[in-house]
């Protein structure tokens, strides 16, 4: 008993001592890239893990190709748990103690925005891996970059798809998160601005909702031609299942707002009910991956036994782009890196070159991947065999 208590006390001391010593560990040799991503609840852990997988492969790849400026790159992973302060603490630790030169992996807009406020003072650039709120870049901070299809092009994608099919009645059913709110508003705004003559029903729901039937019954009463499914994770799948129950599917067209159906679990989750689903995707047989992207896809497949999806692709590309920017700037000095990022054109996972122009609003320092709508016409299709229903003009 007594011994156990001593042991307990000793281990606690050890923990505290290590914490104090952490700054000492940061040595000259490897160049540190920081990853701040949600890996425990209440964060969006699934996306966090995907981003982490991508980033790990990215750093591996960079090191195989000889590292950056003659130095190896080390990836330092920090769990943000989706909490702003925890993200800020991680950034401070990365920059002040671990001397990280680039930080990415953000999934939650709140964390990204909070970190940018500190980054603005500390200087090391950040890259939003999958953060949707416009404030992430719209504040026009020098250090703020992002590789994500933000609300405007995303909404434009399904509105284009809807227009192409001459549908008139549209339901947007979205969760009350940064992601859902932004897209719902953007869809209404664009429809109005472009005078598409659509009748839009918008339904919002809390993302912890486990039963969407009440909402879907309202949708059914509205008799829409197309349904835009703006859920992330469980609500997205729940909506597909329950739309079948409610008798909405098959019948109406449903498009999911991101490429969840590209994941191999999709067919496991939905079976026959997955047929007929459309989804926003970022590459397809028509719009090829870059060579780098193909290389990544190969490695990812080998490592995890499934094709990579968007969050992983972006996590990977963020690492590559930062490495290339440092090479281009020939320095890890933040100002030089930022200049390189702004002026350069980089190769990411897609055939579209990656650029970060000083553009207006949310598009400041923002690279948007190519966007399209894919449509599953048969069971067990993959994004490679799915029908390309619509491609957004770049």
């Amino acid at each position: 008993m007594q011994r156990r208590k001593l042991l307990g006390a000793a281990s606690l001391l050890a923990v505290l001592a290590t914490l104090g010593l952490a700054p000492v560990i940061a040595q000259q040799e490897p160049m540190v890239f920081g990853l701040i991503t949600p890996l425990s609840p209440p964060g969006e852990t699934a996306l966090g893990q995907l981003a982490k997988r991508g980033a790990e492969i990215g750093v591996e790849y960079i090191n195989e190709k000889g590292g950056v400026l003659g130095r190896k790159v080390a990836l330092s992973i920090h769990d943000s748990a989706g909490k702003n302060e925890q993200g800020v603490a991680a950034y401070r630790r990365l920059v002040s103690s671990e001397k990280a030169v680039a930080v990415f992996g953000f999934i939650h807009s709140g964390v990204n925005i909070a970190v940018n406020e500190v980054a603005k003072e500390m200087g090391v650039p950040t890259m939003g891996t999958q953060t949707g709120a416009s404030d992430v870049t719209a504040k026009k901070y020098d250090i703020a970059f992002r590789t994500h299809a933000v609300d405007a092009p995303r909404a434009a994608t399904w509105l284009g798809w809807i227009q192409k099919n001459k549908w008139k009645r549209v339901t947007v059913i979205a969760e009350t998160t940064d992601y859902g709110i932004g897209l719902a508003k953007e869809t209404e705004k664009q429809s109005k601005e472009k005078n598409l003559g659509l009748e839009i029903q918008t339904i919002m729901f809390d993302r912890t909702t486990t039963d969407l039937l009440p909402q879907l019954l309202q949708v059914k009463a509205f008799k829409p031609d197309a349904i835009v499914n703006v859920g992330v994770g469980q609500p997205l799948d729940l909506m597909i299942t329950q739309a079948h129950t409610a008798g909405l599917l098959p019948g109406a067209q449903m498009v999911t707002s991101y490429d969840a159906p590209a994941r191999p679990q999709f067919w496991q989750l939905h079976g026959d009910k997955g047929v007929g689903i459309s989804f926003v995707a970022f590459y397809s047989p028509k719009s090829e991956l870059s060579d780098l992207g193909k290389e990544f896809a190969k490695r990812y497949q080998a490592k995890f036994n499934e094709p990579p999806v968007y969050a992983a692709l972006n996590g990977f590309a963020n690492a590559i782009v930062f490495a290339d920017a440092i090479k281009k700037a020939n320095s890890t000095e933040p100002k030089a890196m930022i200049k390189a990022l702004e002026e350069g054109s980089f190769t990411g996972w897609s055939t579209t070159p990656v650029t970060f122009p000083r553009a207006e609003g949310a598009l400041w320092h923002n690279w948007s991947p190519p966007l399209m709508v894919l449509h599953y016409t048969a069971k067990d299709q993959t994004p490679a065999t799915a029908e390309v229903a619509y491609v957004l003009a770049q």
Binding site: R4, K5, G8, L12, V15, L16, T18, L19, G20, A22, P23, L39, S40, P41, P42, T45, G48, Q49, K52, S76, I77, H78, D79, S80, A81, G82, K83, N84, E85, Q86, V88, A89, A90, R92, R93, V95, S96, S97, H108, S109, G110, I113, A114, E117, V118, E121, A133, D135, K139, T176, T177, D178, Y179, I181, G182, M204, D206, T208
Partner: protein
Amino acid sequence: MSAGLTGGVGAFVEWRRVAAVLAMAAPPLLALPLFVSEFTAHVLAISAYYVILAASWNMLAGFTGQFSLAQHGFAALGAYTSGLLVYHLQTPLWVSIPGGVLTTALGGLLLGLLVLKMRTIYLSIATWAFAETLRITLSAAYEFTRGDLGLSVPSLYGHVRPVVYYYTFLAVAALCLLFIHVMLKSPIGYFMRAVRDDPMRAQSLAVDITRVKLFAFVASSAMAGLGGALYAHYVLTLTPSIVDFSEMARIIVMVVIGGLGSFIAPIIGAPPVYALNTWLAAWGEWSMVAFAAIVIGLMRAYPAGLAGLISAVWGRRRSGKSFL
């Protein structure tokens, strides 16, 4: 009647001892930032913030026996009130922060009234329901609160250098602790502890338990609100994630590991727990697993918390005496 609540404030405070402790603690605490990195200074600043929250909850749950699960909700209420005042009405910070404190005090009063007659478990669940409602409302009323899009808030001093905020949070934490100490050493503190031990007996001995419970609720909410309002202007971006139950869990773990109902619990509980949390964040998805395992291990080894351990070491077994 009010003599019962306010009469003899600080009647039992040994001011000389308080001054001695302050004099001993101040120099190392003030000098600390000179020797540490900016990150460590940030950890210290946020630790001090959690000392405020933990102390406020300890006052409610530890001293008055009201095991509320809404303390993180009040911190968020303070933070959001201040943030929203600035965002919508462009009020200066010296208006918005007191505004946050006022709102939380009022919120504490209302919630306190609501749960006044409830038994322990019901009180816990009702307060927790309040916090959850707040979280969902903050998310759902995004047109007003910006929800998950993130409410941007200006900083206190026009910059976010951690050292300055460390001193700020430290000063506020010290004031809060001093307030709690004076209160504990006043009639109201006696009443609070009496209400915790046996509310019915307290009432039979002329203690107005309604007022005591409400006082504890209002004071602790206001304290949490103050902490939250300051926190908002350091973190600069507010999202509903600050009302997540894991925040409340963190506060509970801090206080209970420190030793619930002991004056020093927040001081010896909050910083190590927060530091551990932050340090473990580099373990990725295993961080919370390790954290939880350590907490369970600690609880099994020292069920009475670190305060119990320390008092055992010092050979002072009397639970009737508090530290300081």
